[in-house]
Amino acid sequence: MAPHGQIQMPRATVRTDYASATRLRLAKAGVILYRNGMSEPTSDTVSEIDGHLVTDVPHAAAIGMRVISAGDGDAVCFVPYDPRFVGNPETGVVHGGLVTTLLDNTCGIAVTSKTGLHGQIATLDLRIDYMKPADAGKSILARAECFKVTRNIAFVRGIAYQSDPTDPVATCAATFMIGAKSGKGSNLTPAETA
């Protein structure tokens, strides 16, 4: 018997309605990332050659972060699995901090892809909900969507996932400051620039 409150649907109906149902689920969670007819890259389909290594951000390069696509406020990136990033040696699961870095950077790329202001944005606030631990041994992907830009602030939503974008590892909401200080050494004290 179906648990209370759950409607049991014929299997075929569930299957044909899968895409729109999951889209609705993500939309309810505040994540609207789907475009009609677009197939999502997953850990099972991406390989290192599918993405361009981020070279202009030293830490992103250090974790081997790659960009699959970026444009018009939408970015998809991934980090290949690496034992150096393990947070729990018993399970081999990567540390949550790696997911934080991936989401932060992917959100930043989404903003840049919309504003064109490269290097002049700074994260103001980042909220992450961890849904489940990432599977050990698999890449982690992130998709971010910059859905609003004002004169000072950009608003972004994102998800981190592995094999199935409808079953995310984490979701996030972030705001970025636009036109942040960008001059070389402008954040340093006089002693440090000397």
């Binding site: 949550g96 901090g97 103001l124």
Partner: protein
């Protein structure tokens, strides 16, 4: 984890130095600890691979987030010793100032120690503790809850 189980069984605190040495990601970031009694200060020594903005230069926001998350996890492992590492449920990070290319310090304060969920607040600073560069507020699940 063995280190946690050992501390938990003896009713004592886990050895935090041993704990971070056992976590590869902490080694990757280069995190160290300075413990004075029950006060734990985490240290993120500056390294070129932690930079997010090479022009400024500034530390990567994700690195600061990860560093604060580690700080929270260590404080919970110390204050609420259990057989497993606490799991993050949600975190909110406020970026207050850009992280300059110098050493960064972190300290966590447990706001509420629940049976299953723990609410933590973390602050990081560089030269002056009164001028934090980032703060984190988060909920962590401890053993017994799922």
């Amino acid at each position: 984890m063995d280190i946690l189980a050992k501390g938990s069984r003896s009713g004592g605190r886990p050895d935090l130095d041993e704990l971070i040495a056992a976590i590869p990601y902490c080694r990757f970031l280069g995190i160290a600890i300075d413990r004075k009694g029950s006060e734990i200060t985490t240290i993120l020594p500056y390294s070129d691979h932690l930079i997010g903005n090479a022009t400024l230069p500034a530390l990567h926001g994700g690195v600061l987030g990860a560093f604060m998350e580690v700080t929270a996890i260590l404080q919970i492992a110390f204050d609420a010793p259990g057989p497993a590492l606490p799991k993050p449920v949600d975190i909110t990070i406020d970026y207050l100032r850009s992280g300059r290319p110098v050493d960064t310090f972190g300290r966590a304060h447990i706001t509420k120690l629940g049976r299953r969920v723990i609410n933590v607040h973390v602050e990081t600073w560089q030269d002056e503790h009164t001028r934090p560069i980032a703060a984190l507020r988060g909920h962590f699940l401890v053993a017994g809850g799922d």
